[in-house]
Amino acid sequence: MNNLTELTLSEARDLLRAKKISAAELTAAFLKRIEAKACWNAFITVTGDLALAQAKESDTRLARGEIRALEGLPIAYKDLFCTKGVRTTAGSRMLESFIPPYESGVTQRLKDSGAVMLGKTNMDEFAMGSANVNSCFGSVINPWKAKDNPAQDLVPGGSSGGSSAAVVGRLCLGATGSDTGGSVRQPAAYTGVVGIKPTYGRCSRWGMVAFASSLDQAGALAKSVKDSAIMLQVMSGYDPRDSTSANVGVPDFEKSVGQSIKGLKVGLPGGDWIDQCDDSIKTMIGNAAAWLKSAGAEALDVSMPHIKHSLEAYYIIAPAEASTNLSRYDGVRFGFRAPAESIGEIYQNTRREGLGAEVRRRILIGAYVLSAGHIEAYYQRAQKVRALIKQDFSDAFSSTDIILMPTAPSGAFAIGEKQNDPVTMYLNDIFTVPANIAGLPAISIPAGVDSRGLPLGIQLIASSFNEEALFKAGCVIESSSGFVPWREEEATS
């Protein structure tokens, strides 16, 4: 069969089970394409031999009828999920040669469901970034090109930029990501794929390299809403090793796919922060509301006066938590160590040389907002605003089932743009951060293009543990939008 890499996860699953294709040939096709597309820099580590061995085992199981949920399906893991015996770097020089002695909760579940690991995807260092330009392994290139400047390299979004580029570029059937302030949804929007961040506590954080623990949550990037539901199903579930893991049942997410949304109430938060978006984004929001209404949903305006301040609260809370989490990188027990004469110098030099500029900046901000004399004015105030934002959502969900917003304020931009000052880059996350602040599930679905022909995402946010509403409504947007997925340009020579 030709073009195995063009298949969706669910199509590949059906073909494997019908014995029309083998896991070994499917895996080999992806490994070949990963090699051919090394120029995108989507992977930090490719685990070819391991993948082929896993595929062989899956083929044996498929032949015997011992079929697990993701049997023989090749996927990729963001390089902050610890994988036992396989280097896990978090995109940092600090962990350049770190070999985890244990497996993360999420990747263990994927492994146990028969998924084949193709490798570890590139990312912004310690998941801090919105463009995947902060990796010590270099920037990732978005396979999309703008129609007005096809020679220009664009960012794939961040921080899960390697995962988003790998999924849209057909280097894997799906990929894991992590989402602290939009790091699954924003890259999904920039590359025209689906990205889901579930409710805080739905997926185990055990073995995920920590950034900001009260906000971090695993997520999935996939070619379709259905594929994202299939992946999240396997990734979800209680894990006693993560003290914030929710001991709640996991519904059959795939069942939600294609279900009616008749009577679903869709909230539209207005305000100047949305009015300031590009026209193409405002048009897309209007279209999305109309598609959902045509499918039987009701749309209504909701007042959420505090959520536009989410980004400001985030840039206090996330750096504060990062500054404490990243204190573990001291050059003593694991990771990089800079040469020094005393223990004090080891700490100071190791962290200067082992961490990149953006990570160091956020640690410094965190240290500042937590320091004596400033903690009340900054950190505690941000926590109070966090309470107000969570209340805004609770109030909105008393009359609605989902909230409809853009995923990002623009389409993908060029590598090197928005790097003059940190705040300009931070503003890319303005619409994604609220769901992290409130711990809510949210999905990004490709639903339009900007004036340069680049993909734009619609974001849907639901109440806690109501991912099913996102999959139902997401399918309606997916089937109504007429969005044309990324296509490989024919060779022009």
């Binding site: 003290s243 914030t244 206090i316 694991f334 990771g335 900046r361 410094l364 109070k384 605003v385 107000l388």
Partner: protein, 95 residues
């Protein structure tokens, strides 16, 4: 908030990140921009609001204090930048 050179040196010490004297003004200016951005929170009336530190629904519990992962000393110490006889090595700390 105005960030002075002294502030930068102080947080550099708190965060244990070495900063060279010629880098201080640039870092001060970046941090000032970020703080100026987050200070928009001052517009919000937060009186009477309790700070929210987590959105977890999980209840804290006491785990069993038992060994559940044996014989991985070499894997763990193997990640250290310097080791000897199963121990982490650092420069002499106590005189």
């Amino acid at each position: 908030m105005k960030i002075s050179d002294q502030d930068v040196l102080k947080i550099s010490e708190l965060a244990k990140i070495k900063i060279l004297p010629n880098e201080v003004p640039q870092i001060a200016s970046e941090l000032e921009k970020i703080l100026e951005f987050v200070e928009q929170l001052n517009e919000i009336d937060c009186s009477g609001i309790e700070p929210l530190s987590t959105v977890t629904v999980a209840q804290a519990y006491e785990r069993q204090d038992v060994v559940d992962d044996n014989n991985c000393l070499d894997d763990i110490v193997g990640n250290a930048p310097e080791q000897s006889s199963g121990m982490f090595v650092v420069p002499k700390i106590v005189e």
